[in-house]
Structure formats: C-alpha cells, structure tokens
Subunit: 514 residues, 2 copies
C-alpha cells in the first residue's frame, strides 16, 4: 500500500515506530504492535505499527529516527506492507514457555533489540521470563557475547588490562576512586568506566564529575589512558553494549535485574579487560543480603568469566552499612581525595587496598596488598589521581575543601545514649536523595556514628547537606520519620517487623546502578 | 514546572502519554516511563512520560486523549511534576517475584490498567509473570470481579440468563449460530456476545456479520433480546471488561493467554449470565491438546464459576479436526443456516444439539437433548434465527445460496487413494487465511474429506474459495507445500517429527480469539 509521509518532528530516542490510520491498518491486516516493512526507493526498514483512530487515512506518521533512517521527507510516498513476525519473537516466546535458548536464538534477540525490531512490550516479557526462570551458563555467555558483538569495543594495547566493578548497593562506596589511581600508579592499565546514579545518591561518574569532566569520547579516553594508564569516565554514552542500555530502560520500572552478569561482563569485555575484580557487597544494607547468595553469584561470575576468557576474582565485602562516612557526589569525592592524601575513614582505605591488592596478585605481583599500601602511603596514588583529573580536563591541584559541598546544612542528634546496632542504608539513601543527591552534587549526608560505636545523648549522629533550604527541610523531615540509625535501648521494643494482612509498605528497594 | 502544551494531533487509542524534552525531564528528575502529574486549573491527570531528544525545552507534547481529558489546548500552560510510583506497580513487582496477590492488590492493578496509569511494559511484565507462575483460584476470582467492576454491565431481567462459550481453536466451529436460536426458540434468554477473528479464519461475529449487522449498541442489543430472547452480536466495543481488552492487546504479540478464565467469565458475568456451558475442544487440532489439560481447565472453570455465582458446565468436545466442512465467514454462515434448515454436516448438528441440551438441563428441562432436537427438527430454531437476523437489521428471508462466497475457486485433489489419518487444523487455518479469510468474508475452505473417510485417487480433498485470483493462487501454493490432509500410505514414511539442533520452525500456533 502506498502512503504519504507525515513527519511527526519528534525524536523518540531510537525506537522505530510508525503511525497508521485504523483504515490503513485494517486494509494491511496490521494489528497494533505488528511490524510493518516500509520501502522508499532502495531503502527498506522495519517499524512497529501504532494505530491511531483519527489519523489521515492515506498517510503514515514517522518519528524523526524512522524518517531519517529511510531518508524520506514530508509528503513523499512510501510503500508499506505487513512484515512477518521476526524469528527473535519466536525465541522470546520460547523463553516465556521456559525453554532453554541456544546461542543463535539469543543472537537473533539481541540483534533485534538493537535494530529495534522488538517492541518494549516484547523486551519486557523476555526480561520478566529471564527474571523468573533464571539464565543458564550458556545463556549468560551467549547474551554477553551478543551484547559485545552489537556494540563498540575498545583496545588499550597489550594485556593485562585491569578493571574493578562493584555489583553495588552500598551508599558511599567510592572505592573505585582509590583503586584506579593505586593500580595505575603501579604501572598497570586500568580504563575504568562507571555509571551515574539511577536509584542511589551517587554513582562513580557523579562523584568524579565534581573533580573533572567524565563525559569523554572514545578517542579522549584513549588519550587519557595512554598518558596516565587509567581513567575514571562515564560509560553510558560509549555504546559499549547498546542492547544492555535498552534492557536497563525496560528493567527500571519493573524493578528486575535478570541480566546482572552479562550486563557487567559484556562491558568489561568491550573495553578489553583481561583481569577483573568484582566486589560483591554482602549484608543487610547491600543488594546481596546473604553469604549463600553471594557465593552463588561469585561462582557464576567466575564461570562466566572463564567462558568469556576473562580472569575474574570476586570479593565478598562487608555490606551492613555505608562505606566511609560521606554520601553524595561532592562529599564522596572529597572523602576519596582526603583518603588518597593519607586521611579518610579506615574502612574505605582498607577496602581500596584489599581490592587493589587482589588485582596486583592476579597479574603476578607478590604481596599485592603491601604494594597497594605502598602506592597509597608513598603519595604515588594521589599523584596519579591528580594526573588523571588533569588529563580528563579538571584542576589537578584541587584541594578537598574546594569541592562544592552544599551550603545548607543541619545536624541530627541522638535522643539518648547507646551503641549503634542498626544503620539502615535504605533510609540513608532516601534522606540523601531527598536532600537533592545525585542531581544536586553538593547534597548528601556525613555520618558521625557507624555500627558498633557508642554515642552519647545529644551527640551528632549525622549531618545533612543540601544546596537549597527547602530540600534540607524535607530531608530532615524524612530523617525524623525514618530514624536510620538505631541505638541499643530496649532490645525487645521492636520485635514485630511487619503485620499480615495489614501490610506496611515493605517493597524491597530496587538498585539498578552499574 | 510550568510547560506549554504542544498538541500532537494524534489519537493513541487511549494510552496517556506525554512527551518531555530531555532538559525538562532532567530538571523534573523524570526517567523515561516514569509517571508525571499534569495539572491544568482544577484538572489533574497522570501520564506516562516519553523523553524526546530534540523536543522544545519549554513544551510538553500531548496526544489527543491526554489533551482532551485535561480540557487543555495548544499553547496553554500546565504544571508538571514527577508523580510517585503507583501502588499497583509495587503489586506488579510482587507478582514478578512470585508472590500471591490479594484481592485489593489486584483491584489496584486492574484500576490502573483501565486508568492507563500502568504502561504497556508493566502490563507485559505482569502478564508474563502470570503466564509463568499461574494464577491461584482467589487471584482468578479477584481479577474477574475487578474486570467486571471497571466495565459496563447489562441486565436482561429475570434469571435464568443462559450463555455458551468455546475456548476456541477449532476452525469451522459455528456452533453458537445453532445453540443461540435453539435455546431462544425454547423461550430462554441467551444474549450471546462474540469476538472477531484475530488469529483464526473466522470468529462468530465475522460469521454472523454475513447475515446481519453485529456491531450493535447496548440499547440495540436490549431491544433485540427483548423481541427475540437472543442475539448474536460483537462484544468487542461494548466495554464489558475494558481491562481485558487492554490485556489482550499486550498478550497478542507475546503469544500468551494467562487470563483465559477471568477473561471469559468476567464477560459472562458482565452480561448477567446465570447458566453457562463452556465448550473445551480437546485434541490434536485444538488449543487444549490432552484430556488431562482439559479436565484441569474444566474444574478451574467450575470452581471460578462458583466463586462468581455462575452456574457452569463444561463439555470436553472432539477437537482433532475442523467442525463441519466449511471454514471462512460466509461459507460457515451458509453451513450454519443449512443445518438450521435440516441439512448440514452431522458433527455440527450433533455438537449444537448436545450443548443446547446441556443448557436446557441446567435450567431444569428434562431430557434437554430431545428438547434441542425438537427445536431444530420442528423448524422453530430456524424461525428464531430468522427473527434474530431481522431484529439485528439483516434480511430474515435470506437463503443459504445467497450468501456471498468467493467467486474464485479451486479444488485440491488426492494424489493417491487412502484413508484420512491426519487433518491439520493449523494448516487449514493458514490456507484459509492466505485465501483472504476473515477479512475477505467470501474466502475460505470447504472440506470434502474428513478423518477416517476413504478417498480415491484424484478425488477432491478440499476446495479453496477466494475473492481475488491472486489470493487464490497464493492459498493454493501454500496448500501444495503444507499437505493438510494426510492419507494412509506408508505409515513409516514420516517418523521423524523434528530434528535438534537443526530445528525446523515448530512454533506452537497461538490462538487468541474469544
């Protein structure tokens, strides 16, 4: 059927959608969400049909991406046909029925996700089925390989290329900002890409951005790494695994994360990493709550690493409370810099030195931990961090006190004396976000009491920082309701966690920051 | 944030979507698929945000439904805020984790589906999780009740109100066109709503439409039923269970049908039925392949019926081949009319008399089958059908030969003699659809050989009807490839059904016609 193009002048962010009138759809036997083949001269493309009630009968509405992919303009004529269901959709349906998918089945799905031949409804069903049925080792491998194959890859020359990744969930975890300069200072290559926060108060990219630009092109990254051996950049726009970026968009409203393993390792593979330490924070405050879960995940990582020819070591790390004392982009960058300069909280230093030490031993350094301590204590790691900041376009001489933390500030004090027995990371996250983090980079929290510490009556438990007084006020209001830090008093006071059927809101918090 | 309305002049078929620029979305902390609250004067609504790269920064794009629900016009200003996640989404997420939902959880979901507060991605995930985890009896009940509560309901006066439904899958199943007039002729009320074909060559609404209009309003239906005791109308536009209509749209590309029970029984409840016979065709050619599956489904129907105060009897019917000989809207209407007039194929007559007999016995008639036979043989059922045709606006005197079957026609003959041992309903469906059914109402197939019958060499196996010669040619081409009717010859000739890993396309055909 010949139809006249109507440009909608809207960019949809990639999805290939075309609008048909009810009459044209009926003549073409097209139902909503069917695929159509649009032909313009020698150009062809597949788009997903949306059917509009009052759309002009002889026209097809094209969003910008679709029109420009075809090279067609307003009022030109295209030929439109119903397209057959793609092979990938039959593979999605097989997964819905619980069948195992073979490598070539998965390749069709990942290709069609990237080519936008699968709709978000179909992707959502696929991810839901993966989330419920789980993935086999071969499915994880095939997904990882297919996501690398459909994205860009980087090469930083000779192996080893080192990397570090946390599965996340611990507020205040700025370890990468120490591990990268420690490793790079020892002469190893560590091109670290990080994410921005989606559900947390700060991602590594948000933290580093208070020191220097992080939104670098692939060529700029190569340049920084060739000068300094390392980098700390945002990975989101590099298209290392574009399928994964599309999967994450669909996972976000659903609160599911079935592709954790291939999502992480495909990106490591794409930047050419050979040796990777995976940090699995484990505990009440982390994404992974129990050691059993953590060991299963760790062995899955190691197994998938072997299949992908990646050398992987996992660290199960203490995950019952935030890391260090500061939460929020600028506050965390300040704490990281202070720790590189010899100060800082002991748990942050300990974690950074341990993980960097693991990486050193993976590439043959004896007593890796001592090497990591040496890099830190000698000032070489700080020097390296300043080189990286400078190479990425920041001020290499920046002092911790110059970082723009929020001007609006208040203290929350303890109502009685006691020992800290509970510190809710979830509540800390809510308060920090309410204060404005991560969007307002100066916003956040500084903890003055951590697990096991003894607190006097009226002593400061934590400080809240904000850039605007209204944000500070609402963060303090929530802090008053939540009581994120619980002190020993009457142990039996709160034995009932929840009541059924009158359930309180006990939705598990969902973390999707990689 | 204040934004200026940009009317997109597109009707999306109900979904409430608003387009924001990347800049506005970032300022509002809105991610794609987040919900926003739009306020215009005293009007408020929730819409799902789509983020467009090059959209004017100070504007919000509204589709027609959204703009008219708010009563806002181009260039007017609205206030836009990030809306909190709806309670229903937490309930969807609970189902994704495999939790049982309580009635009030399900009410939030169904309400938010109808109000368009849940996106199609979220609905797809919900349906996928239901499809994998299955539904408990209470979940089926709660879904049915919630779908009735959010739709329109009909009342036809005093009980009993009779109804009949097939779970479908058998091509040529025009039984409703006999059961309705048989039951109505005996003085009982039977307001039958039917569907159009989505994946089959004809739905009951498509068949009846070759005799009279089926797209009646609720008032017109009441009128027809008060005159004739029965009707045969299309249920699709009556909004009896609008949530179900939205669920079906999402199920269609996914090839899943987790809500079969609540979908069917909510619509029976909405039209006020008190006694319902459910036909469960069982066999190789049907949606339900085995007796085990059929008995499970039947007892689920009876159980759900009890919970909804509906008296239900299920019939497991022979489902290894098409019913009667004709497949396609006009061909089937012709066969139904012929059968009402005393002719027609014996299996169709047998099935209609049996199901109508079950309904009679459910409402206290002794020897219901004899009563049904009497209605048919006396000509009362035919007379009643003609009354219904007339009341719905058709020609009550219509003769079978006047029905507009396709002028293009060809025979497919057997290449050798033998007994029919296999008749693929799936292949028959493909050929009939290729010939143009259900869109071209005269297209279809007439079978001349059915299971167990002996065929001579060169005898006609089936005829193909089409309205256009091109359609006839392509139907015949497919018929030649598929060989839908298999005769005994060398039993061992085709022992291998499929090969692994070189799988042939063995996607289960998906039926979603109710």
């Amino acid at each position: 059927m010949e139809l006249i193009v109507e440009s909608l002048n809207i960019t949809t962010g990639g999805s290939r959608i075309a609008i048909l009138s009810e009459q044209s759809a009926s003549l073409l036997d097209v139902h909503s969400s069917d695929r159509i083949r649009i032909t313009y001269g020698s150009q062809q493309m597949i788009a997903i049909a949306n059917i509009a009630a009052n759309f002009p009968q002889n026209r097809i509405g094209l969003y910008d991406e679709t029109a420009s992919a075809l090279g067609v303009k307003e009022d030109e004529t295209v030929n439109v046909q119903l397209a057959p269901l793609p092979e990938s959709l039959f593979n999605v349906r097989a997964k819905l029925r619980g069948e195992r998918l073979r490598e070539k089945d998965i390749v069709t799905i990942v290709n069609d996700v990237v080519e936008r031949h699968l709709s978000t409804v179909e992707i959502a069903a696929f991810l839901t089925a993966l989330s419920i049925h789980g993935l086999s080792a071969s499915e994880n491998e095939a997904l990882s390989r297919a996501m690398v194959a459909t994205g860009k890859t980087l090469s930083f020359g000779e192996a080893p290329i080192l990397d570090k990744h946390s599965v996340g969930g611990i507020p205040g975890d700025k370890t990468s900002m120490l591990v990268v300069p420690i490793v790079a200072a020892a002469g190893f290559t560590i091109p670290k890409t990080s994410s921005r926060a989606i559900t947390s108060p700060a991602g590594t990219a948000d933290r580093v951005e208070t020191l220097c630009p992080v939104n670098l092109s692939i060529n700029e990254i190569k340049d920084v790494v060739s000068k300094t051996n390392g980098c700390l950049v945002w990975g989101g726009a590099l298209e290392l695994a574009p399928a994964d970026d599309l999967f994450i968009q669909v996972e976000y409203p659903l609160g599911i994360d079935p592709m954790l393993l291939p999502s992480i390792l495909s990106k490591k593979k794409a930047i050419g990493a050979t040796h990777v330490v995976i940090d699995i924070p484990t505990g009440m405050g982390a994404k992974i709550k129990t050691r059993t879960e953590a060991y299963t995940l760790a062995s899955d990582f190691v197994d998938l690493g072997k299949r992908l020819d990646l050398n992987i070591q996992c660290a199960l790390t203490f995950g019952d409370q935030p890391l260090g004392c500061s939460i929020g982009p600028a506050l965390e960058a300040k704490e990281a810099l202070t720790t590189l300069m010899g100060g800082g909280p002991p748990d942050l230093r300990e974690k950074a030195v341990s993980l960097a030490g693991m990486l050193f031993e993976m590439v043959g350094v004896e007593n890796g931990r001592a090497k990591a301590e040496d890099m830190l204590d000698s000032g070489k790691a700080e020097k390296k961090m300043r080189e990286i900041i400078g190479a990425q376009g920041g001020n290499p001489a920046v002092k911790p006190d110059e970082l723009p933390v929020g001007a609006e500030k208040a203290e929350v004090r303890s109502e009685h004396a006691g020992k800290v027995i509970w510190l809710s990371t979830e509540d800390i996250v809510r308060i920090a976000r309410e204060a404005g983090a991560p969007k307002e980079k100066g916003a956040g929290i500084v903890l003055h009491a951590k697990l096991g510490e003894t607190v006097h009556k009226d002593e400061v438990l934590f400080e809240v920082y904000a850039e605007r007084s209204s944000k500070l006020a609402s963060a303090l209001e929530i802090a008053g309701q939540l009581l994120p830090i619980v002190l020993t008093k009457k142990p039996a006071e709160k034995m009932i966690l929840d009541q059924v059927p009158e359930k309180l809101s006990h939705e598990k918090s969902f973390m999707l920051d990689r």
